[in-house]
């Protein structure tokens, strides 16, 4: 299994993109929260397909 990573790209104009990779379902939320407060105002959020897949799987298991 690939090692969990948080990739932070800081652009030359100070914009930041943060991506949590290889996390399961909502596990990434806490890690992202750690960085959120320090990085300023969030302007965009995009859940990738894997996030939705994990969420759907968890919902089905819970039935």
């Amino acid at each position: 299994m690939a090692e969990k990573q948080v990739i932070i790209v800081v652009h030359a104009d100070g914009r930041v993109e943060l991506e949590a990779k290889f996390f399961q379902g909502h596990d990434c939320e806490k890690v992202i929260k750690d960085f959120e407060q320090a990085l300023g105002h969030k302007t965009a959020e995009q859940k990738k397909p894997e996030w939705h897949q994990q969420t759907t799987t968890h919902a089905k298991q819970g039935r």
Partner: protein, 147 residues
């Protein structure tokens, strides 16, 4: 899971700003005049002085001509930044606009600030960080840890 989030830089933390200045090789002086095109502006709590080797592609930015003023609030955190918005000496249409030179200078400060902010969080949480400079001027931080 994968999630991508984008943040705009809000420089509020004085200590992170000072880290950023060190990273850029700039210096800080206290209670100095901020320098505008027309000369001295108001006295600011802190003044960020560019390194002598800061030369912009377009404007040959002179460290003796411009700097960045910083005023602090009652908590000692950043209240405002003051700087000339046309460091290449050309007119800009509105007070709120910046010319390309100014954008690059302020951008480099914001970038250094955000790198300091992200690395500080990683350090506090015990994460490992690998810094990789990219060809487009951005910097990538690859953070790993026990999650």
């Amino acid at each position: 899971m994968s999630k991508l989030q984008t943040y705009e830089c809000e420089m509020k933390d004085k200590s992170l700003l000072l880290d950023a200045v060190t990273r850029l090789g700039w210096t800080v002086t206290a209670s100095e005049y901020v320098l505008f095109y027309s000369g001295k502006g108001q006295v600011c709590d802190l003044v960020l002085n560019f390194a002598d080797n800061v030369v912009d592609r377009q404007c040959r930015l002179l460290s003796r001509k411009y700097n960045i003023g910083v005023n602090l609030d009652s908590n000692g955190q950043i209240k405002e930044l003051l700087f000339d918005n046309a460091m290449n000496g050309q007119e800009v249409r509105a007070q709120t606009e910046q010319d390309d030179c100014t954008k690059r200078v302020i951008g480099s400060l914001k970038q250094a600030y955000q790198l300091s902010a992200a690395k500080r969080v990683a350090l506090r949480k015990g994460y490992r960080v690998k810094e990789i400079a990219q060809a487009d001027g951005s910097v990538q931080l690859v953070t790993t840890g026990r999650w």
